[in-house]
């Protein structure tokens, strides 16, 4: 572990292991994309090749497979994409804004009961969702929300414990002198929050928004319970429906559908990689 102690042999071993690990972690994704570029008969044949037999056909195969998925008459991915974007868009706005407001209350204001309530916020992170899913379903069907997308985005407007925790840590790092100066200029809490804290917290807010977007995009159990008819399905549910629909779904089509569902999150991640990795690291340490 001490620098300079390593010889050439150990360095080769380290890089060799790391490359093997990289292959192990990325191969399933590479194989998924590669399969989506093959014809049906090429896909269901034991071959190691990443490319179709005739590599010049790769674009044609891709077009055939992806349009077949996109235009499937029964499993309608365009509809699921729209639903997922509606839920994700509303949830991300609601979650980021409400968590920031709550975090401000914990980070900047002095009031009785704050410590105890914050401990409660942290404790709720341990409660498994399955514990409340039954009564929540009954609550939502009682107020008539089953059959709409509301059960999946309205709760996001009431802040999430983990995001409150993260934003509070971030807000506490912003110097209080700035608040005092703004107060002298006549700003109230809302002014300080809106004009000072939020603009200075853009990186943290972006991370919360991104995390929540990925969470909503990936969620399976909540949509499975709260969405009753296929017109309201999300992409995650739609993918499962596509796999299980009557008749054997060809592997090249199933992998094209999987790629369609997975790719947006990966692209988003690659665009925001730096900020994300950094924040995972710091929240883990502070937790």
């Amino acid at each position: 572990m001490i620098r300079g102690e390593r010889g050439i042999v150990s360095r080769v071993l380290v890089y060799g292991t790391l490359i093997l690990i990289t292959i192990a972690f990325l191969m399933p994704l590479v194989w998924m994309v590669a399969t989506s570029f093959k014809t049906q008969s090429e896909a269901s044949r034991a071959t190691f090749s990443l490319l179709p037999d005739d590599p010049t056909q790769i674009l044609k195969n891709a077009r055939d497979n992806y349009t077949a998925v996109w235009n499937d008459p029964v499993v309608r991915f365009p509809v699921y994409l729209r639903n997922t974007l509606i839920i994700a868009g509303l949830s991300v706005v609601g979650m980021t804004l409400s968590s920031a407001i709550v975090a401000y209350g914990f980070a900047r204001l002095e009031w009785r009961g704050k410590k105890a309530l914050f401990a409660l916020v942290l404790a709720t992170m341990m409660i498994p969702f399955p514990v409340v899913m039954g009564p929540m379903f009954l609550l939502f069907s009682w107020i008539g929300w089953i059959g709409s997308l509301k059960p999946l985005w309205v709760p996001a407007f009431f802040a999430g414990a983990f995001n409150v925790f993260m934003l509070r840590q971030f807000f506490m790092g912003i110097p209080k002198d700035l608040d005092e100066a703004a107060r002298i200029d006549g700003c109230g809490n809302w002014g300080i929050f809106w004009r000072i804290i939020l603009p200075l917290s853009k990186p943290a807010l972006a991370v919360v928004a991104l995390f929540h977007f990925v969470f909503v995009w990936n969620d399976f159990l909540a949509p499975l319970i709260f969405l009753r008819n296929q017109d309201q399905f999300t992409l995650a549910l739609g993918l499962q429906l596509y796999q299980s629909k009557a008749g054997q779904t060809p592997w090249n089509h199933l992998m094209a559908a999987s790629t369609l569902v997975i790719a947006p999150v990966l692209v988003l991640f690659l665009l925001m990689q730096g900020a994300l990795v950094k924040s995972v690291a710091t929240t883990g340490i502070k937790g």
Partner: protein
């Protein structure tokens, strides 16, 4: 304005700012928890009002073979998965913590699978683990065919279902790798150098210098993993539905049975009792981990 009114005003402002969380907590967590506690003492077929049956649901669990099977299977999964995930992610983090070029690339490579939706992950592994054309079996027979190894029917053979689920879950340990890497970077170089001067080898150094320093992070990760492992649902749910030839019981976990009871068999009372048992197990094990680790976990001042 008296000091008293000023204090009340501050209290009001504080509670007003945190009110979104408080309302959400009452409406979507605490309220439903109380309701499910009540249901757990009733027989509730959903279409008719609940009937009070006292401890019947809890008694039923004791004699329910399926319940015992899913509880045992879930515990087994947690016991296999948590140590493996911890060892693997710590080892990868350790490799990346040295003087590694392109460290960012390797970090991204292990992190990317954690972003893949469970449904997508299930589809990918359904294909990778396919008995006939799956990449895993092709690789095994190519590499070890001379020894007569040709792979297995990973998902439909009840013997291989658990290892498959563990392997798929291990695919997304990347988040922990990043957390452990950050923790390892905090270990001061001087302490390692001093330990080396004292004649400690790399293994001793890891065990008696590094491990104590990162123990709070390990505890945090193990607790997080445990809470997640006890809830495992999407991957086995999708895979068992997608493996018609297999034994559906081999991938039947606690939350799946609860889901079936509540939403398919019309037994919301029994499902609620199972939910509460799950909650108590989660809280109990978390408390145990914290108590047991008191002596082992080292908090720096």
């Amino acid at each position: 304005m008296s000091a008293r009114t000023a204090q009340l005003k501050r209290d009001f402002a504080g509670w007003l700012w945190v009110s979104p969380w408080v309302i959400g907590f009452l409406a979507f967590l605490f309220g439903p928890m109380l309701v499910s506690l009540y249901y757990s003492f009733t027989d509730y077929p959903l279409l008719e009002p609940p009937i009070w049956t006292g401890l019947d649901n809890y008694r039923r669990m004791l004699s329910d073979e399926t319940f015992r099977a899913v509880l045992w299977r879930t515990a087994k999964f947690a016991f296999i998965f948590i140590p493996l995930a911890t060892i693997i992610s710590l080892s990868i983090a350790g490799l990346l913590n040295g003087k590694v070029k392109a460290g960012g690339f390797f970090q991204a490579a292990v992190f990317i699978p954690t972003l893949v939706p469970m449904a997508g992950s299930a589809m990918i592994w359904l294909w990778m683990l396919n008995g006939e054309y799956g990449l895993i079996n092709m690789s095994i027979s190519r590499a070890f065919g001379w020894a007569g190894l040709t792979g297995a029917n990973w998902l439909s053979d009840s013997k291989w279902a658990m290892p498959s689920i563990v392997m798929i879950s291990l695919w997304s340990v990347g988040q922990m790798v990043i957390v452990y890497l950050a923790a390892l970077k905090e270990v001061p170089d001087e302490m390692l150098e001093a330990a080396a001067l004292d004649g400690m080898g790399p293994i001793r150094r890891f065990l008696s210098v590094v491990l104590p320093l990162i123990s709070p992070v390990i505890l945090f990760n193990v607790v997080t993993l445990m809470i997640g492992a006890l809830q495992i649902f999407a991957i086995p749910y999708i895979l068992s539905a997608a493996t018609p030839g297999g034994d559906p019981r081999s991938m039947y976990f606690y939350t799946m049975y609860m889901y079936d009871n509540g939403f398919r068999y019309g037994q919301m009372g029994y499902a609620s009792a199972q939910a509460w048992v799950q909650l108590l197990i989660t809280l109990g094990l978390t408390a145990m981990l914290f108590i047991a680790s008191k002596r082992l976990v080292h908090y720096r001042a």
